[in-house]
């Protein structure tokens, strides 16, 4: 039973990284922008967050630095695709390639650094419950924050006027423009918010989850987060579930390794990537369903007037 509790706890922890990133990308995509630069954003944010945490000793400043780095890079990407109408795929790739190089360059002197002992959190009373306690109530506050963010984002998108405008900008920027909404500025805000959340994900990864800086440490999580928004047909709650599912797959790999399963470790490491392909195939098979749920102007440039 204890083992199950630990596995659940680890799953939630791993899922949180994906959840922050995928929720951020969801905001982008709801505004009609695909950001293939998520991987690069997360890497740069991971360095920024880790370095800040090392120098200041504060994890929370680390997260803030990650969010700031993410928002800044996303703003650069946003200026290119929103104002200069560059191809979104190519610009996102540029961001990913730049982020990979830049993070390796900037992070080189942090590869040997260690953070002070990682704090342990528990929620009073609940944490002492058998099984459930260690599984759900001894997590880092960010794990709960991810859940709160999911709820908040759901309310924002479907229950607020601002959310309606954001969705309108992603569905039909022409109509939103005709109604007098500043489409470009709204898109930029969405891109920056998404970048900030990807940044939080990267910083959580390097400051809490791993906690180390290793070159290329995001290891495809940015891309998996991109796939998650499709899996979830652009719904926040489903994004969170998907993130936990993939967190579970990641953890399963370590769990099986720990149990001495007779399978070379490389095949276990492949699991999350293969799972992404399999789920992508299962979900995408029904092209109509994807088309109905996808923001109608996703990836398309918008030229006002």
């Amino acid at each position: 039973m204890d083992e199950a509790a630990l596995l659940i706890a680890a799953t939630l922890n791993a899922g949180t990284v994906l959840a922050f990133a995928a929720l951020g990308l969801l905001i982008n995509e709801r505004a009609g922008i695909v950001n293939l630069g998520a991987e690069g954003l997360m890497l740069v944010a991971a360095v920024a967050g880790f370095a800040t945490a090392v120098h200041t000793g504060s994890d929370w400043l680390g997260f803030a630095a990650g969010a700031g780095a993410g928002a800044l890079l996303a703003a650069l990407f946003g200026l290119l695709v929103i104002w200069l109408n560059t191809n979104q795929y190519a610009s996102g790739l540029a961001l990913s390639l730049f982020g990979t190089g830049f993070s390796a360059f900037a992070g080189i002197r942090y590869t040997q650094e260690k953070l002070s002992e990682r704090p342990h959190f528990e929620i009073p009373i609940l944490a002492d419950l058998p099984v459930v306690g260690p599984a759900f109530f001894q997590q880092h506050p960010m794990v709960y924050l991810a859940i709160a963010l999911t709820v908040g984002l759901g309310v924002f998108l479907y229950r607020s006027r601002a959310g309606l405008v954001l969705r309108a900008v992603g569905e039909s920027p022409e109509s939103a423009h005709a109604l007098g909404y500043p489409v470009r500025r709204i898109r930029l805000a969405a891109v920056m918010a998404g970048g900030a959340l990807c940044g939080v994900a990267g910083a959580y990864l390097s400051v809490i989850y791993t906690p180390l800086w290793v070159e290329g440490m995001v290891a495809g999580k940015g891309w998996i987060a991109l796939a998650l928004t499709t899996f979830a047909t652009w719904r926040p709650a489903r994004v969170l579930l998907g993130a936990y599912l993939f967190g579970g797959v990641t953890m399963l790999q370590f769990h099986l390794q720990g149990r001495g399963v007779e399978l070379p470790s490389q095949f276990l490491t492949m699991l999350p990537y293969v799972a992404t392909i399999v789920v992508l195939v299962l979900i995408s098979r029904n092209a109509t369903w994807i088309r109905v749920n996808m923001p109608a102007s996703l990836g398309k440039p918008f030229h006002p007037g």
């Binding site: 290119l80 109408n85 560059t86 390639l97 830049f102 080189i108 490389q266």
Partner: protein
């Protein structure tokens, strides 16, 4: 204030000038970066732009890195022109190296030299297989090719790692994760004794010519480009978008696989976990900076190769991390995309409108 104004027609001048402006911007940022890091910027520029060209040995090394970049980028250009986003060339490169390396391992010291074409063919098929998987999932199940091809990079990387740590490990290799060194007859013939540059140069040159002919003179190449530029027009004309998808992915996969086999049987001479050197990703930049045009790709491939060598020299001469190459590569693509705006728009000073 500065405004963008649409041009009546795309500027031919700017489509030539934009990569050069982008390079100038990258160099300017580079100089700023060197100053910021307290390094002599003149020395920095020398390391990137003069030293990689200074003698025969340097030119040979330039060729060694430019060949895989150009081969892969040519295939990717075909993909991007047909609006197929294959970004998993790195994985196809690895599979090519695995397939080619697998054949090379069978050779002995007395094998015939004819094994070289077999190695290259195996590599090409390996890359095609990996890209074909992406094409199949896209075609049959509508799965996004960007994500599938990228995920397959990680899978290929793990496959390589499994083989060199496991069944293919050299029993006499002191437990290092590497295969045996391939027998002498498998080596790709070198152009000049003592220099590493090999016959891959001729293959790359042939590929440049073939792609140019295919894009400019062959009907199927035309169909493929129409499909990329105007899918509706292509459908109306009855061009098969499935055909284009498969062609683009199989050709680019094959090219990346060929590059992988050339690398394995050429400069490497064995398989190690370090086979993937990022050529598959850098080639995306090469393809775009080369305007998706075969001749442009030759220039940008050489430039990118120079960046690689410059990065290595910057490490040994200036004490900068090698990863500075990645920074400049990413910057170059960013700058290019921004400059490309000037093909369709021009900058105009205009007074701010009242109200």
């Amino acid at each position: 204030m500065l405004r963008l104004e649409p041009r009546p027609q795309p500027s031919a001048l700017m489509s030539w000038a934009s990569p050069l402006i982008a390079l100038a911007i990258t160099v300017a940022v580079g100089v700023a970066l060197f100053l910021l890091l307290g390094k002599d910027p003149v020395r920095g520029l020398q390391v990137f732009f003069v030293e990689p060209l200074k003698n025969a040995y340097a030119w040979s090394e330039l060729g060694v890195k430019a060949v895989p970049l150009i081969l892969i980028a040519l295939g990717l250009a075909l993909c991007f022109r047909s609006n197929v986003w294959n970004i998993g060339a790195e994985g196809q490169f690895i599979l090519g190296a695995l397939a080619g390396g697998g054949v090379a391992m069978q050779a002995g010291a007395d094998s015939s030299r004819l094994i070289v074409p077999v190695i290259l063919l195996a590599g090409t098929l390996g890359g095609m297989l990996w890209a074909g998987l992406t094409a199949l999932l896209r075609d049959r199940f509508n799965a996004n090719e960007i994500l599938v091809s990228l995920m397959l990079v990680y899978v290929a990387d793990m496959l390589l790692s499994y083989l060199v740590y496991g069944p293919w490990r050299d029993p006499d290799g002191y437990n290092f994760p590497q295969t045996i060194r391939f027998a002498v007859p498998t080596a790709i013939p070198r152009l000049v004794d003592g220099l590493r540059v090999n016959a891959g140069v001729w293959l790359a040159a042939a590929a440049v010519a073939l792609l140019w002919v295919y894009l400019a003179r062959i009907y199927s190449g035309f169909q493929l480009q129409v499909g990329g530029l105007a899918p509706a027009a292509a459908r109306y004309a009855g061009f098969s978008s499935r055909g284009s998808l498969w062609t683009a992915l199989l050709v680019s996969g094959g090219m990346a696989g060929l590059a992988g086999a050339l690398e394995a049987a050429g400069p490497l001479g064995q398989l190690t976990p370090h086979v993937p050197a990022g050529y598959g990703f850098a080639a995306i930049i090469v393809a775009f900076v080369g305007r998706l045009h075969p001749l442009g790709i030759v220039c940008s491939g050489l430039l990118m190769s120079q960046f690689y060598i410059g990065g290595e020299l910057a490490q040994s001469r200036l004490g900068l991390p090698k990863s500075i190459t990645g920074v400049f590569q990413g910057l170059l693509l960013f700058a290019l995309l921004a400059c490309d705006t000037l093909i369709h728009y021009r900058l105009r000073w205009r007074a701010k409108k009242a109200g």
